[in-house]
Amino acid sequence: AEPLPGNKTEKWLFAERYLRRYYGMQPGLLGTSKSSDVMTEKIRAMQSFYKLEVTGKLDHNTLQVMKKPRCGVPDVAE
């Protein structure tokens, strides 16, 4: 498997791009407490879709699934 993005910020930005693209997360909300709630909810939706443990956290399993080669159509329709 490809190595996962290195530091915490990189992982966060990588996940944010992923969630924007496939889970309809609005851009530009990072950095506020409200935005992290939105991100947690989107991570939970993604974890539920992929039958991962639903924690809302960017754990190793979740990042690994995000790194897999995939189709560009969003998983959740707007």
Partner: protein, 374 residues
Amino acid sequence: YNLFPKKLKWQKTLVTFRITNYTPDLKKEDVDQAIHDALKVWSVVTPLKFKKLHEGIADIMIGFGRREHGDHNPFDGPEGLLAHAYAPGEGLGGDTHFDEDETWTKDSHTYNLFLVAAHEFGHALGMGHSKDPGSLMYPVYSYAQGFPLSEDDIKGIQELYGPNPDHKKVKPKPEAPNKCDPELSIDAVTELRGEKLVFKDRFFWRLHPQFTEPELTLIQSTWPQLPKKVNAAYENLEKDIVIIFSGIRMWALNGYTLVPGYPKYIHRLGFPKSVRKIDAAVHIDDTGKTLFFTDEDYWSYNEQSGKMDPGYPKSIKDDFPGMQERDGDEVDEVDAASYKNGYLYLFHENLQYEYSYNKRKVARIMRTNDLLNC
């Protein structure tokens, strides 16, 4: 399965397509063939028919492009995004684009154009992404041979278009197993360098000590060279290999890598030709012996001498007494087996028997899926 909101679909049964450009990775005729076959996957299970146009605007415009390629929905270079397609509709609707920065193949190497095209045409016909990892419409790429639609895909597309009136026969892939199904049985179980692998149909669950949840993966997406289904597996820690059995053949893994020189015939272990399949295998670290279960018998193999122990096969029922099914019948066949701390775990249908190897006595009976944290 999932459909797009408002159940978008083509309001006609004859859908046109046009290939606007070709990838240099494959011969033109191979691309044509992959596209033809990928559309056929959907037409055999629906009343839909596809017609190829050589010029003008078709319903499904098919092309290869890299990065920004004209739809303000850019690709991302090699890996990552492979392709995308638009739901049925006017203009961009139905159009299907492949990332030219990927390497397109017609075999098991990444990425097989037929499989990706078949998935994308699912979108072009109105299918969203499925949560079923064994379905074609699952969003993550995995290689598999044979007819690519699962029962889940067929249910979805037939909700939109109905079945094929000609009732063409297809062999769909079964839905992915549910780990917490109380009736779950398994095909094989083995350790692999501290992880546990549990095989079921085309899939295996990977239980890693640091993962809280088992991870379900297609066997063929991890090891394309292995057969679709595994009958038995065991780890020999001393040799640091896992042996995988399917029918009369066996493969060896060192870590996740297949060992060259395999497959070999199981008869090289000393089985007579009448044995065509091993149901379960387990290595007993304490004795250096490996037990093989075939139908109602079991065998003991000496890993050091590379020979079967004399006096085998013996009867499972006679040597492992006390394993009773719910109807009171004695268990005389085993689906899978593992060993830990002096206990053998013998799996039969939806139950596992914790068997004290020394006392020759059943200590506990559990559900098979206890193994998967259910």
